[in-house]
Symmetry: C2
Subunit: 126 residues, 2 copies
């Protein structure tokens, strides 16, 4: 069981963000006898999943949708599957785009290096 500060540290996010996610109903931790938030291992795993989705540009609104389907229960598995499949398609498209741009940058970088080395060769006495 972790406090909000411990979770923040562990996952490299701020306590502000954790409270924001709770306000948005993305994660609802338990509370201890003082009313302080308590996160267990399954909360942590869910947060790690959320962070992965975020790193791949899934908007908070979609993550919220997915989280609320979870709360609704087992009859939403098909809808959840749909969301994941949709995001997977986005990711695969994004990978293609990134590879394209990576190639484009590689060519530009080579051209710049070439230009710089030629310029250097032209002014040997500088």
């Amino acid at each position: 069981m972790y406090t909000i500060g411990e979770v923040a540290q562990l996952l490299g996010i701020s306590t502000h963000t954790l409270r924001y996610y709770e306000k948005e109903k993305i994660i609802i931790p338990d509370r201890d006898e003082n009313g302080d938030r308590r996160y267990n291992d399954s909360h942590i795993r869910w947060l790690q999943f959320v962070i992965k989705l975020k790193e791949t540009q899934m908007p908070i609104s979609k993550i919220k949708q997915y989280a609320s389907l979870f709360v609704e229960g087992e009859h939403t598995t098909l809808a959840r599957l749909g969301l994941l499949e949709e995001h997977k398609r986005y990711i695969e498209q994004q990978i293609k785009t990134l590879i394209d741009v990576d190639d484009m940058l590689e060519r530009k970088i080579v051209a710049y290096k070439d230009f710089i080395s030629k310029r250097a060769a032209k002014t040997p006495a500088d």
Copy 2:
């Protein structure tokens, strides 16, 4: 030579955005005798490059920096090279992350499908 409306259509962005990019000094088109913006092929190519950078999450502030180095002239090639190399490193890291999450989603999706098909098998008379 293209008008702002033609460029917007061609590149799938709005005229507002093109004016905004001009305000931010990312692209400075020519003007015709009426003072209307005129974009030539090299403007178009530069805009296509900007859009590619944006698709790969380069912030407008960085694109601005790169554009202003261009305007400053040839002595900024090293700085430009640096910016491109930095963004290339970001992209390559991002590709790794996307591949990881793609795998993770694949596993989740398989698990969901498995669950759904097992549930269907349990209730053959539904």
